[in-house]
């Protein structure tokens, strides 16, 4: 059973009707097959229309869609010989960030990704993709591993943000994120980050100080969630749509602002309607980035990364 978003209601109705007819056409009547084909065409047109002009708030919903591929899916689809590595060697293991060694299309690399989970139990296991300091310190550990063995670092960003909790604060959430950013900027290996869903604030950028930052077409990346922004600036959580619009958090706006390097298109009706296709396309973008960055030496990689971030903020949306 597909999970439909509120703005997908007309699509849901059409697809429901198609499903019903298919059920009836088990007898093999020709006129029903024709009707199914006609409705399918209509549904596709509707999907295309809807998805080519998604509002910023609708993109937030798509980016958070429960059936959208998550980091664990990308690891399964793109990484061979994956060896998961656990723990920060200081306090604990945070399953909100998956990490390990693996082989991406032949290249040995270090992989990190925030994982939200896909059902109630795994969501709890992964803390809904909201890392605690241990997760960021594990990330630091794996970044250092990448540096030591000169392996590229490939990250998948998908988090509502770092976890706001008493323990997280006590164990230095801010310091853990700051140190991730610092380390990420120092690395002398290629760093490639892909925002696959939600890039939530400091918790996201901790894994995204990369030589190349890729975003999926309907993913978002923002300093604050539209809900948080609405409740602070509009003093009302109901102004989500206005806040999403104002924050310019879509991949398209971020590319114009020079904050990201590349957008990977999603299949018709977004990543959750074409999971394998989406993950393969992300793989292609990562491979291309790896090939380009692989030619640069360590000093150049570090300088390129620094310069890229230093150049941000020179231009607005005009």
């Amino acid at each position: 059973m597909r999970h439909y978003l509120d703005f997908e209601k007309p699509i849901a109705e059409l697809e429901g009707k198609i499903e019903e007819l298919r059920h009836l056409s088990d007898g093999g009547e020709l006129n029903i097959a024709d009707e199914v084909a006609r409705l399918q065409g209509k549904a596709d047109r509707l999907l295309r229309q809807t998805y080519t002009k998604l509002s910023a708030w609708q993109k937030c919903q798509v980016a958070r869609h429960p059936e959208r591929p998550h980091s664990a899916d990308y690891l399964a689809a793109l990484i061979e010989d994956f060896v998961p590595l656990a723990g920060d060697r200081l306090y604990g293991e945070d399953r909100a960030i998956l990490g390990g060694l693996g082989r991406f299309r032949g290249h040995s690399c270090v992989v990190l990704g925030q994982e939200k989970g896909h059902d109630m139990q795994s969501r709890v296991t992964h803390n809904f993709g909201m890392p605690r300091p241990e997760g960021y310190r594990k990330a630091q550990r794996l970044m250092q591993l990448a540096e030591r063995f000169k392996l590229p670092l490939v990250t998948f960003v998908d988090t509502a943000g770092a976890y706001p909790g008493i323990g997280a604060e006590e164990r230095g959430q801010a310091e853990a994120i700051a140190r991730c950013i610092e380390l990420g900027l120092q690395l002398r290996v290629p760093v490639i980050a892909t925002v696959i869903g939600e890039g939530g604030s400091g918790g996201a950028i901790a894994l995204a100080t990369a030589n190349r930052v890729i975003m999926l077409e309907h993913s978002i990346y923002s300093v604050i969630s539209p809900e948080g922004c609405a409740s602070i600036l509009w003093r009302s959580a109901e102004q989500n749509q206005e806040a999403a619009e104002a924050l310019r958090l879509t991949a398209q706006d971020l590319e114009k602002l020079g904050v990201i390097d590349q957008i990977v298109p999603e299949p018709l009706g977004a990543a959750h309607r074409g999971r394998d296709k989406t993950m393969a396309a992300v793989g292609d973008a990562i491979e291309e980035a790896l090939q380009a960055l692989g030619r640069l030496d360590g000093g150049t990689l570090k300088a390129q990364r620094r310069d890229k971030f230093l150049a941000m903020g020179q231009k607005g949306l005009g």
Binding site: A178, R179, E182, I224, L310, G316
Partner: protein, 353 residues
Amino acid sequence: MNWITNYVRPKIRALVSRTDIPDNLWEKCPACGQMIFHRELEASLRVCPSCGHHMRIGAKRRLELLFDEGDYSLIELPETIADPLRFRDRERYSERLRRSRSATGRQDALLVAHGTIGGRKAVVAAFDFSFMGGSMGIAVGEGLLAAAKLAIAQEAALIAVPASGGARMQEGILSLMQMPRSTVAVEMVKDKGLPYIVLLTDPTTGGVTASFAMLGDIHIAEPGAVIGFAGARVIEETIRETLPEGFQRAEYLLDHGMVDMVVERKDLPETLGRILRLLGERRPEAEVVPLRPSAGDEAGEAKARQEATPRLVGEPAGEAKGEAGEAARASDKPAAAKTKTPAKDEPERDPAE
């Protein structure tokens, strides 16, 4: 707490004197409620004489307080793009900016100044909380980068003094990008072997804490300052529990290992000066004539110099790198220059710069 003196009396006093004393001559301590006469409050550096509560102070006052004799020079910060997203909530960001600028007479939330602290060269980047909650946008990021460059040009220490609610939402993703950008500023200073010290003041939260403010060589916090990543309200709403007493206060962070010390405002210049001297003047003041090395023997020369160099008791062995660097630099100079130890104030750092 004496509730009569601290609570009741000021209320009575306020009642009695409402008509003949202008409001701004008296200020109420937000912690204990004591009414404090403005002159007394200024003399105590805006620290409540009755409960010790450290009230917020502006960036200008902060600079006066930190630099030797209150003497410093402000630098002009680079002009940056205003309102890059053309952001509008209930009000235009450009309008909010204009209002903050006219109310404070400042361009943005950061002031950068240079001078000496405890006799050592220092660049201070101080936030002004009164300018849009000290929030960090492009202008603040550029200001921190300018401060870092100035520190490097002057071979001075960099001292950051955040007082900030975090990122400036109205600049969207570009405010988030100030986290890596300000971290680059810190890295530039660290790469040159210069001290980077953070003085955490009330409040230091959000993206500011999760970037340059938690990356100091040394972290000093003012008493009672709120320092944290997530806001207390967000945490309460998420976990649906009341927060422990003193949560996210400077003393709490000290107990949890996030800051090196909590220092009262009046003691800050002395503490900073001592640290800067310890990091910058590593040898005792003494006239020492090192052994003359045998001609042409560079390694022997370096060794001889090291042996001849007076050491402080307990000086860590890790200093040897700096010593070797010093020797290497000396060996490039004419022979006559080798007979004296460097002057007290000469910065002793890696000559590779």
